[in-house]
């Protein structure tokens, strides 16, 4: 009797190599947590050991649709796990701490829409934290444990959704698998999009809605109502979860409806204009009725972006240097890494050029493909925003939506079909290498070089655990300060106080805590402001890096001690009537303000 043929192709050995790659990444992060020289090459080797076998198999003709789907799931989850092993068991990205605070507030107070002192707009979009609260309350786990599982489920939805969407549009699981592989090279896929933040669940739902609309388009009309269920539920959940994604889904569906009309001169089924109106109506209703503060949050960001574009274009302001952080103490991205990132963009450009040719030949009558082609071109326009200082973030955030289109168009380029007679494997091998460059280059372009690996927040010493200054402060506050008391602190300390400290902490410019902490003397307005905000505890931190929301959480490293602010920035608080320094850990002190009149 013949042995049954395997239905999984090369999935098992590729899964094993992915596991080994993940182990190498975890080991590299462990070395980085030991405050050793960051072993970047080891880390990127681990990433490539995960990705390259998957990429190579995706380029093949032989793999079944099921195997390709399993491979893209493996890719998405393995790369997500790289981010998870970087940080366990604490969130360390700045937005994660804000959202973890919201989730903790929901779990302990049993209601949504609690107050967030650092990003007040976030409680108005409680989808992620509401979903996380289900796991937290049902199982009793922390917001960290529940959060990484919810984002992991969303990540799985994202890659499956992309694969099914691209399969439906192209008719080819091979192109679909390659398009998902290209999408993994989007600047925000590796780190930013894997964090515990509202966009990390909204973007996958956005893709699921796109997939459902595409499936509805290809289904018999009598099945259209069935697809309405995931489309409507998906749109509603996006509106409750994330402002930008809710506008993106409305704009995309509106654009799709217009393209349907332009190609077919017909507004009737399957033109999705009704869903576009639904998405726009729900987004506007939520904005006006629930989340009106979003206007004040997004307005300045967008207007500053436009101003920066104008100033840079007119020569009034110098262009922003690529790969540059905000502070002088931030290390430069190495030349080789910059080269990889730029090469990745160049390869995408070449892929899109060839892909657009194929699109024109075969897919130009397809509404989705037409939108994707426009998005792929728009992506390169958004790269110019990176040259304008206040606009680069807007461009960066737009890229993950536009990359859906870009990934599809670039996957049409057909390099995998190139089979020179002498080396028939060359096309597949070249494409695999190119995908590797795009993946690594995207991660380098999307996240600061010095933050790719973990840094020591906790450490072992004599068989016990010690914590960095900001974390120890948060742990102290959680155990010793009543929950309803309010803190003012520098950006990093405030975020740690919020999660895992679960305390209300103000930071930044609104209210102007930053100036209160950084000035060497008082001018008179400070104490009334602190009283007005009912702040009882002021945290001073002499480390200049404490104002950095992405780097201010770690231990100081011997030989690389942080730059300090003048001592007077701390001691001035002792001059306030009734103020007492009740906590000191060296660089960090806590002053309790006297009772106000």
């Amino acid at each position: 009797m013949a042995r049954p043929k395997s239905t999984t192709g090369y999935l098992a050995p590729i899964a094993l190599t992915a596991g080994i790659g993940l182990l190498i990444c975890s080991f590299a992060n462990t070395l980085a947590r030991e405050a050793a020289d960051p072993p970047s090459l080891l880390f990127w080797a681990g990433v490539l050991i995960i990705a390259l076998p998957i990429f190579y198999r995706l380029t093949s003709r032989e793999a079944s649709r099921g195997e390709r789907l399993a491979l893209v799931c493996l890719l998405g989850l393995s790369l997500y796990a790289v981010k998870v092993v970087r940080d366990v068991p604490l969130f360390s990205f700045s937005d994660e701490l804000v959202h973890a605070f919201n989730a903790d507030q929901i779990a302990s107070h049993h209601h949504l829409f609690r107050y967030n002192p650092i990003l007040p707009v976030t409680p108005n979009y409680p989808g992620l934290e509401g979903a996380t609260s289900a796991l937290m309350t049902l199982s009793g786990v922390s917001s960290y444990a529940a959060g990484i599982i919810v984002v992991g489920a969303a990540r799985l939805s994202l890659v499956i959704g992309l694969f099914l969407l691209f399969t439906r549009i192209s008719g080819s699981p091979r192109i679909a698998g390659l398009a998902v592989a290209i999408y993994a090279g989007n600047f925000n896929f590796f780190f930013w999009g894997a964090q515990f933040s509202y966009e990390s669940i909204a973007l996958p739902l956005f893709v699921v809605v796109l997939m459902a609309v595409a499936e509805r388009d290809r289904s018999p009309r009598e099945w259209a109502r069935e697809w309405a269920v995931p489309i409507v539920l998906g749109i509603a959940a996006i509106v409750v979860t994330h402002h930008l994604t809710s506008y993106a889904v409305a704009v995309f569906l509106a654009g799709l409806a217009v393209v349907y009309w332009a190609l077919r001169r017909d507004w009737s089924w399957p033109n999705p204009w009704r869903y576009a109106i639904l998405a726009a109506a729900l987004a506007i209703a939520w904005l006006l009725l629930v989340a009106s503060s979003t206007l004040g949050y997004l307005g300045p960001v967008i207007s500053e972006a436009f101003e920066a574009i104008f100033n840079t274009a007119s020569g009034d302001a110098p262009p922003r240097g690529l790969f540059q952080g905000k502070g002088s103490s931030i290390p430069d991205t190495p030349i080789l890494a910059r080269g990889v990132a730029l090469l990745g963009v160049a390869l995408l450009g070449v892929g899109v050029l060839f892909g657009l040719k194929r699109f024109w030949e075969r897919y130009r009558k397809e509404p989705y493909a037409l939108i994707f082609a426009l998005a792929s071109i728009a992506f390169f326009a958004t790269l110019l925003l990176r040259l304008a200082p206040a606009a680069w973030e807007t461009g960066n955030r737009l890229s993950e939506y536009l990359f859906v289109g870009l990934a599809f168009i670039a996957a049409l380029s057909g390099l995998q079909n190139w089979r020179p007679s002498k080396w028939p494997w060359l096309g597949r091998a070249s494409l695999t290498a190119a995908l590797g460059v795009v993946l690594v280059g995207g991660a380098i372009a999307g996240w600061p070089w010095d933050l790719q690996l973990a840094s020591p927040i906790r450490a072992g010493a004599e068989g016990r655990t010690i914590s960095s200054g900001p974390l120890a402060l948060a742990e102290w506050a959680e155990h010793n300060i009543p929950e309803d008391e309010r803190f003012a602190a520098s950006t990093a300390d405030a975020r740690m106080l919020m999660a895992p400290g679960e305390r209300v902490a103000f930071a930044g410019k609104t209210p102007d805590i930053q100036d209160i902490l950084e000035e060497t003397s008082f001018s008179g307005w400070e104490l009334p402001l602190l009283r007005e905000e009912e702040i009882r505890y002021v945290v001073t931190d002499r480390r200049e890096i404490s104002s950095d929301a992405t780097r201010g959480y770690d231990f100081s490293i011997r030989g690389d001690e942080p730059e300090l602010m003048p001592l007077a920035t701390v001691t001035k608080f002792a001059e306030l009537p009734g103020a007492k320094r009740i906590y000191s850990s060296g660089d960090i002190s806590v002053y309790e303000l006297g009772q106000g009149k």
């Binding site: 949504l112 979903a131 100081s556 001690e561 906590y583």
Partner: protein
Amino acid sequence: MRDQKDLRLVVALSVLCAVLALLIPVDGVALVFAAPLALFLPGYSITAAAFARRNLEWPQLLLLSIALSLTTLVLGSLLLNYVGGIHPLSWAVLLLLVVLGTCRAAALRRGDSGTAPRRARVRLRGLETAMLLGAAAVTVAALVLGFSTVPAEDAVGYSQLWVLPAAGSGGSEAQVGVRSQQQTSVDFDLRVKVGTRRLVKRSFRLAPGETHLLRLRAPPGARGTVPVTATLLRHNRPFSVYRRVKGSLVASQEPR
């Protein structure tokens, strides 16, 4: 013939997961039951109800099961916010109602002609199974390594000193705390001045991560608010103040 085994299984699993997630007091174990209840079963049952009259392929079924579970959690939290609040029981009841309601709808819509979704058929050889188990083992090892706390010898150690009203004392007692975040065990001298005359001295050794707490009352005869000043010194640098904090306590009004 009706094929509704999958719906019966989903209902049974949902009830089991809800009950066990609520009853098991160990967080990690409860999560094993809460996760499928929250992240798969509601989506599966909604998909089964929506697509009762057609055979959805397993990739679509898998995607919609996860994605619609996420939408159920997002929109469900909004509902619970206004009806009953967000509690373990309210979540369990809501998710069970969603599963029961949509499974019932699926059963009715399937009728006699409908069928359960087709499952993916996976055949694995022995070597493949071994490699997949190996992949799982290596992944677990990577996560364990990530979770492990490792020494960071170049990390600069320090210690915390604080003074606060002692919990439950109404301010009549002060608690002075010292917590070592040093790389090695360190000998400390703690001097606490209560009021103008009383000086309390303690010498102790703290291992990394260890805490020393001292609870103090106002000296006899003291009245009103009594200042407390705590000074921490290290044995190896006895003439240099390492940390100093200030607090206060309220002298209790004891009858003479």
